[in-house]
């Protein structure tokens, strides 16, 4: 048992050293070294918004807008309510050529979004199960004690359960939604899944696209909520963590 804790301890020290080292490279503007270090940390299985954010900063300083946006989007997926990440994304989007519509949540929707992303979808999922289990318990106690109050509480558990489930579902969709970022400076959007088909329109580096379907070489995408078409998958990179 002792040797397991020793290995874990050594691993965490080595890990902290590598992240410190990467941060030092970034601070001293040794961008290639910083990028290599962060990529190595990510390859080691670490999915952290801090690492993706710093990697995005490194790419941004190298003027690689597409890769910078890709990493900020990844950081945004892991920490959707982080203002720092959101500001960086907003700033970078000003530099991109394509300007798709952006949905801004205000008022009650903004509050719901804040609550939704305050905890992970796994926790919301567990809460929903707990509330759903309160329903049979309430029914049982209603028959046992003949209390009307307990009977009416059933509807409260059901409402809370559904609310937690919807938070979990939305949060999970945000996390797993299949989206890509254009890495090439310019790409064509084709009408069919082959490059011989007609070109519908052109898009540029850094633009986010939603993936509808895919085959070996092409992806069917949705741009700006309404325009559909096909692109070559070699020109884009996935935001998903796969």
């Amino acid at each position: 048992m002792k040797w397991i804790s020793y290995i874990l301890f050594s691993f965490s020290i080595a890990f902290a050293q590598s992240i410190d080292e990467a941060n030092q490279f970034l601070k001293s503007n040794e961008l290639d070294k910083a990028i290599a270090s962060y990529e190595k940390i990510i390859l080691g299985g670490v999915h952290s918004h801090q690492v993706y954010y710093n990697l995005g900063i490194a790419y941004e300083r190298k003027n690689k807008i597409g890769l910078a946006i890709l990493n900020f989007e990844k950081a945004n997926r892991l920490s959707p309510d982080n203002d720092l990440i959101q500001n960086q994304l907003d700033n970078l989007r000003l530099k991109t050529i394509d300007k798709p519509d952006i949905i801004i949540n205000t008022g009650i929707l903004k509050l719901f979004r804040k609550i939704q992303f305050s905890i992970s979808y796994e926790i919301w999922g567990i809460f929903s199960i707990i509330f759903f289990f309160c329903i049979p318990l309430s029914i049982f106690l209603t028959y046992k004690s003949k209390s009307r109050l307990i009977f009416w509480s059933t509807f409260i558990w059901l409402s809370f359960g559904i609310l937690c489930f919807s938070f979990a579902r939305n949060s999970y969709t945000h996390y797993t939604k299949k989206e890509v970022i254009i890495i090439n400076p310019t790409i064509n959007i084709y009408s069919e899944s082959n490059t011989e088909s007609s070109i519908l329109f052109t898009l540029h580096e850094g633009t986010k696209l939603e993936v509808i379907s895919e085959n070996d070489k092409m992806l069917e995408i949705l741009y700006n909520f309404k325009q559909k078409g096909w692109i070559q998958n070699k020109h884009v990179q996935n935001i998903n963590f796969e």
Partner: protein, 553 residues
């Protein structure tokens, strides 16, 4: 009534069918000749807007579209909204072609259209007229320069060399370019034909598009071939069309060598600006109180590589916290260059009180026409700061970074959305239904049922007694019957075994025995002797009291 029903049915029928949905595919001509354009349209009624691509059919070529149109009509009170999407198509060879049905999803419903069978006949006009055999059409991408500097805008003209001026470009495929930025320019004189020569032969020349390219990579970069599908129209001397000749033309790959701007005269402040620029640098105020931020606005105006222009490098010193600039673009891509302005807006937050100076800001650009660097310098700015509190997050860089080895590592494995999660979600609902359907077995024992029956017997007898009327001639016999029924039900006895002599064996308590005997005696008396209404009421009340006494024992 019947008449009204018929009218109502008619109205409902009409209103229901006015919203029926129909999805159809149609063509504007059938049969059609090979290499002749026709319109393939998809039309949907009362189901919102259409968004689809035509199916892939061997030998069919989509040469134009999608063209979208929406309209609504009202005939005899029946309103119809129609959405139509159409494409220009063409069949290359004669034969019979089947365009399969397609299915679209709209507003949560799926609609499938009809299939179409198109007869394509041989195109007689296709016979190449005399004098046009072996004619070719060429497309070229003509750059205004091939040796370019990094960041220097290059014009790419798409030019056709043709034997006739009567032609239309049916399809154009622009290559994807990974060597930098490319955008199409506004070209008011597109397609103007002039006489020229190509490979030593006389041709008409028409430049139909212009693109601006800005290389952002050093070394050799290629602009891949442009693919073009052109239809020419041949006319005779009487201006009658005698032939339509299709041509596929591909341009050659254009190779560029991108060189770095290495020069002894290159200023230290040079970032990547190439073109001809002027600029303005403005501070919104020179006095800051209570940590109020100061905004520095740099506007670069002119013609050049504005889309890729980087902000100037500024020495801010240690007295200010500088946030990343807000960048806004306002340029247009014209035929003769990219012109407009780019603004960099810096938020400057003073760290401490005092008088500070921002040294002159330098901006350099390379003028590609004059092969010369220019350096522009702003004035220096004096800033007076009061009431600043030192609560800033300081960093070496203008962009804050996460500087902590303790990371939030998020696991990508998921309990939510797994089979176990859904099983656990379903279990409570199954349990709820189980409890609900088996509630009698779980919660109600035989003792409960007896108690419930007794309670019901009491409620029933009281209701019957309340319904009794003392003026009724059968009042006494009815009261006797109700009491006997109640006692029989309450003690599980046969009603025939309940009589006065038997009351002592039924009730254990003496009081009950006496009370019940007395009531039955009075009932007997009232049956045979006239009794006042008051006495009858008193008898009824006594009976009620007896029942309550029995219930309480």
């Amino acid at each position: 009534m019947k008449k009204h029903t018929v009218i109502l049915f008619f109205l409902l029928y009409n209103s229901f069918f006015s919203f029926s949905q129909k999805f159809t595919a149609l063509v504007n001509q059938n049969p059609v000749k090979a290499n002749e354009q026709l319109i393939l349209a998809y039309r949907i009624e009362n189901a919102g807007n259409l968004n689809l691509n035509p199916p892939k059919v061997d030998g069919m070529k989509v040469v134009g579209g999608p063209y979208v149109s929406n309209y609504s009509s009202s005939v005899n009170g029946v309103s119809t909204s129609t959405s139509e999407i159409s494409f220009s198509i063409m069949f290359m060879k004669e034969g019979t072609y089947n365009i399969p049905p397609i299915t679209v999803a709209n507003k949560g419903k799926k609609y499938t259209c009809n299939s179409l069978t198109i007869q394509v006949k041989k195109n007689d006009v296709q016979i190449i007229p005399k004098g046009y055999e072996g004619k070719e059409i060429y497309v070229e991408v003509i750059p205004n320069k091939k040796k370019v500097k990094i960041g220097e805008p290059v014009a790419l003209d798409l030019t056709i060399f043709t034997f006739t001026g009567n032609l239309e470009v049916l399809d154009l495929k622009i290559p994807e370019f990974d060597g930098g930025w490319v955008q199409e320019a506004r070209f008011p004189l597109a397609g103007q034909v002039s006489l020229s020569s190509y490979k030593g032969k006389p041709y008409f020349k028409a430049t139909f598009k212009r693109y601006w390219m800005i290389p952002n990579r050093l070394g050799k970069i290629n602009y891949d071939p442009v693919k073009c599908n052109v239809m020419t129209h041949i006319y005779n001397n009487r201006r009658e069309e005698i032939a339509q000749l299709p041509f596929d033309a591909n341009s050659d790959t254009v190779k560029f060598v991108v060189e770095d701007l290495v020069s002894e005269t290159k200023p230290k402040s040079y970032q990547n600006a190439v073109g001809d620029f002027e600029w303005s640098v403005k501070l919104n105020k020179t006095n800051s109180k209570n940590n109020e931020p100061i905004i520095l606005k740099i506007t670069v105006k002119g013609k050049g590589n504005l889309p890729l222009l980087s902000p100037p490098s500024i020495d801010w010193g240690n007295e200010f916290e500088i946030f990343k600039p807000k960048i806004s673009d306002d340029y247009y891509i014209a035929y003769d260059g990219i012109e407009g302005e780019k603004t960099f807006e810096y938020n400057i937050a003073p760290k401490k009180n005092g008088d500070f100076k921002i040294n002159p800001i330098l901006f350099s650009y390379y003028n590609d026409d004059e092969n010369k660097f220019y350096e522009l310098a702003s004035d220096s700015f004096n800033i007076h700061v009061e009431g600043a509190t030192e609560n800033f997050v300081t960093s070496n860089s203008s962009t804050p970074i996460f500087d902590n080895s303790k990371l939030t590592n998020i696991k990508t494995s998921s309990f939510f959305n797994s089979l176990i999660y859904y099983i656990l979600t379903i279990i409570p609902f199954v349990l709820t239904f189980f409890i609900f359907f088996f509630r009698k077995r779980i919660f109600f024992t035989p003792t409960n049922m007896i108690d419930k029956n007794k309670k019901l017997a009491y409620q029933l007898v009281m209701r019957k007694m309340n319904e009794l009327n003392t003026l009724d001639k059968d009042f006494s016999s009815n009261l006797s019957k109700i009491l006997k029924e109640y006692i029989a039900h309450k003690f599980g006895l046969n009603i025939n075994n309940i009589y006065k002599a038997n009351l002592k064996t039924i009730f254990n308590q003496e009081e009950l025995q006496n009370q019940s005997k007395q009531i039955f005696d009075e009932i007997e008396l009232t049956q045979f002797a006239p009794t006042s209404n008051e006495n009858l009421n008193e008898l009824l009340n006594k009976s009620k009291k007896l029942i309550e006494m029995i219930e309480n024992t």
